[in-house]
């Protein structure tokens, strides 16, 4: 049987890093900051998690350090776009490149290896009920951020800042402060995503190990229309594609075909969702765009 509980389990395992990063992206989107630096923030999280876990022997400290390091790294985006009013797209791309360079450089200077660092004594996160503790945290984060955005005054103000910064400023809500908070939170979430990636299912660091997951998270934000539940569904779709890919690989499909599957599935989902939205817009306004 192809679709069974095992497949769902492995899909749920695959989605955790995407989900965490995409929630961060959704918060930024809501606050009006286009964050495409998720990939780089995640990669910084991966490296910090592995390095800290290696030197302290505690994966928990690794998780904490990853969250802090990625949050510190996200300051580049916050300062660059909010304070200095730079171009968020260029900054995001530069941050992704910087993260690849910086982590590869540190991998060689600190660990003296090129490509991949893995060691049997590198401590990873324990499994609780078949999942990494960070997976539970990710699911909880969906609920918390959904409530925050829809019910709490902080979330309301965050959305206000994103939709009408001038109006928010007139009411005494500082757009800069909320934007900084959203970007820093996305840093924390991406750091956790990186820790999950590097200390969760596998315990190792390899160059550019995020391999486009941060970009998938960016797409998940678009697909889920920056709603926490929508983002969860989008991440689940990606997780299923990845898990089905692994399954097909076991059935003899070449690895290259299954590697490409998540990206193709994501792109197709994006087509369908925008097409559907356009049809709805056309119906309500009576004008085909």
């Amino acid at each position: 049987m192809f679709f069974d509980s095992d497949l769902l389990m492995s899909a749920l395992r695959a989605l955790t890093p995407i989900l965490l990063a995409a929630l961060g992206g959704a918060l930024c989107e809501r606050a009006g900051v286009f964050n495409i630096g998720l990939e780089g923030m995640m990669l910084m999280g991966c490296f910090t998690a592995v390095a800290t876990s290696w030197f302290t022997g505690s994966p928990w400290l690794g998780v904490l350090a990853a969250a802090l390091a990625a949050a510190a790294y996200s300051l580049i985006l916050a300062v660059g776009t909010v304070t200095l009013r730079g171009d968020a797209v260029v900054l995001g791309i530069a941050m992704n490149l910087l993260a690849v360079g910086l982590t590869s450089f540190l991998l060689r200077t600190i660990f003296g290896v090129q490509g991949t660092f893995d060691d049997p004594s590198l401590a990873g996160l324990p499994l609780v009920g078949g999942f990494s503790p960070l997976a539970y945290l990710a699911w909880a984060a969906v609920g918390v951020s959904a409530l925050l955005l829809s019910r709490h005054v902080w979330g309301l103000r965050l959305r206000g800042v994103g939709e009408a910064p001038d109006a928010a400023a007139t009411l005494g809500v500082s757009p800069a402060r909320y934007k900084y908070a959203a970007v820093l939170l996305s840093g924390v979430l991406c750091g956790l995503a990186g820790a999950q990636l590097a200390l969760g299912n596998v315990t190792l660091f390899s160059e550019n190990m995020t391999a486009g997951r941060g970009w998938i998270a960016v797409v998940a934000v678009m697909l889920g229309r920056a709603l926490p539940l929508g983002v969860l569904l989008a991440a689940l779709l990606f997780g299923l594609a990845e898990a089905a890919g692994f399954r097909l690989q076991g059935l003899g499909m070449p690895q290259q075909a299954t590697d490409a599957a998540p990206y193709v599935v994501t792109l197709v989902a994006l087509f369908l969702s925008t097409a559907q939205r356009r049809r709805r817009n056309a119906r309500t306004t009576g004008v085909a765009s």
Binding site: V89, L91, M95, L98, G101, Q256, Y263, T266, L267, L270
Partner: protein, 374 residues
């Protein structure tokens, strides 16, 4: 004459104060801090970068790396001039390389014609695949930034599959095609690794310069980059322009891929086109130059020097060459944040009220900052 000299001086002053200068200097300073941090002598390291890349031993390598870097820089600069970012360069380049390799291996024509055909096949493959990303934006409303990047992954996987199974060299342990037949190669200059490919990309740069400066299309592109809505209002057909620009971009990426296959080692080896990161170096160079044609050539040369010099820096100082990648990214971070050197406030002895003679008081600084990506 005197006016010209004053204008020249003002231009030099403006160039020194531009965010580009600030970013490059800041990048080099931070790079030096990294070097000190690892216990190396920054001056010796930078000297190794320069001598290793521009010395007699390195210049050939710099020019052959520069061929790919300049090709990808142009590929990314052309859409960037209109404010579009094509992130799928890797996929387009790899498909160009595969198309060139297949043509080179199976074409029944004589070798020189096969080389031309292989180049054209590479260009066509890259252009067609990039056009697909442009269609995603035009028809389906998926932003080009995302569609081009997402399409890149299946393309590299597809190429990787081809060279591991159907096109794999029999008996080889590497994921690579057979070597191209005798004579199916770009002519090289003397005994160096620099091929006629360099001439091709320089010609492409010249064509870009001409189109940008002297043609109506170039004007439309620049206007779209400055203000897309205004350009559309003035009659620029946005979707058609996107399609043409992105297809041109992909064509250049495909050209780089086919040049890579038609030069040493004269075959398609999985990962050999994407591993040096030409796409990202190219994007960095295009961003640094704000996609201006001459600036893109200069920035490409600068980054080719860094990339090749990084290797000799690693040999002489034991500092990993990944540092040059860090340096590149830092330059763009600073550039995107639009930081610049503060204006030096000199007190003129004859002007007691501190009046600035060139009429560029602090008020003149704001508008100047707007045109950085022009």
């Amino acid at each position: 004459m005197a006016v010209a000299r004053i204008k020249g001086a003002a231009r030099i002053k403006g160039a020194l104060r531009s965010p580009v200068t600030f970013s490059v200097v800041a990048g080099l300073v931070i790079g030096a801090l990294f070097l000190i941090g690892t216990g190396a002598d920054p001056l010796a390291a930078y000297r190794a970068v320069v001598t290793g890349s521009l010395g007699a031993d390195g210049i050939g390598s710099t020019l052959s790396t520069g061929t790919s870097v300049l090709g990808m820089s142009l590929a990314l600069a052309i859409p960037l001039r209109a404010g579009l970012i094509n992130l799928g360069g890797d996929g387009q380049m790899v498909l160009g390389g595969i198309a060139a390799a297949v043509t080179g291996l199976y074409s029944p024509l004589p070798a020189p014609l096969t080389v031309v055909l292989a180049l054209l096949a590479g260009i066509a493959a890259g252009a067609a695949y990039a056009a697909l990303a442009a269609l995603c934006e035009n028809r389906f409303g998926v932003p080009l930034l995302v569609s081009s990047l997402l399409l890149s992954y299946p393309a590299t996987s597809f190429a990787s599959y081809l060279v591991r199974y159907p096109l794999k060299e029999p008996g080889s342990s590497l994921p690579q095609t057979r070597q191209l037949p005798e004579g199916v190669a770009l002519p090289a200059f003397g005994t160096s690794t620099v091929t006629i490919g360099l001439v091709l990309v320089v010609l492409a740069a010249a064509a870009y310069w001409f189109a940008d400066r002297r043609t109506a299309v170039g004007y439309e592109i620049r206007m779209t980059g400055l203000n897309a809505r205004f350009a559309a209002y003035a009659g620029v057909e946005r979707k058609g322009l996107t399609l043409r620009l992105v297809a041109t971009s992909g064509a250049l990426a495909g050209l780089v891929g086919s040049i890579g296959v038609l030069s040493f080692p004269y075959r398609f080896l999985d990962g050999s086109l994407t591993a040096p990161g030409y796409t990202w170096t190219g994007l960095t160079a295009a961003l640094l130059a704000a996609a201006a044609p001459l600036g893109t050539v200069l920035a490409s040369f600068f980054f080719a020097v860094l990339q090749v010099g990084g290797l000799s820096m690693e040999r002489t100082t034991d500092v990993p060459r990944e540092l040059t990648q860090v340096l590149q990214a830092i330059v763009i971070v600073f550039l995107a944040a639009r930081l610049r050197f503060p204006r030096l406030r000199r007190r003129k002895p004859e002007g007691p009220d501190g009046h600035e003679p060139d009429g560029q008081g602090p008020a003149a600084q704001k508008p100047a900052a707007q045109g950085e990506f022009a």
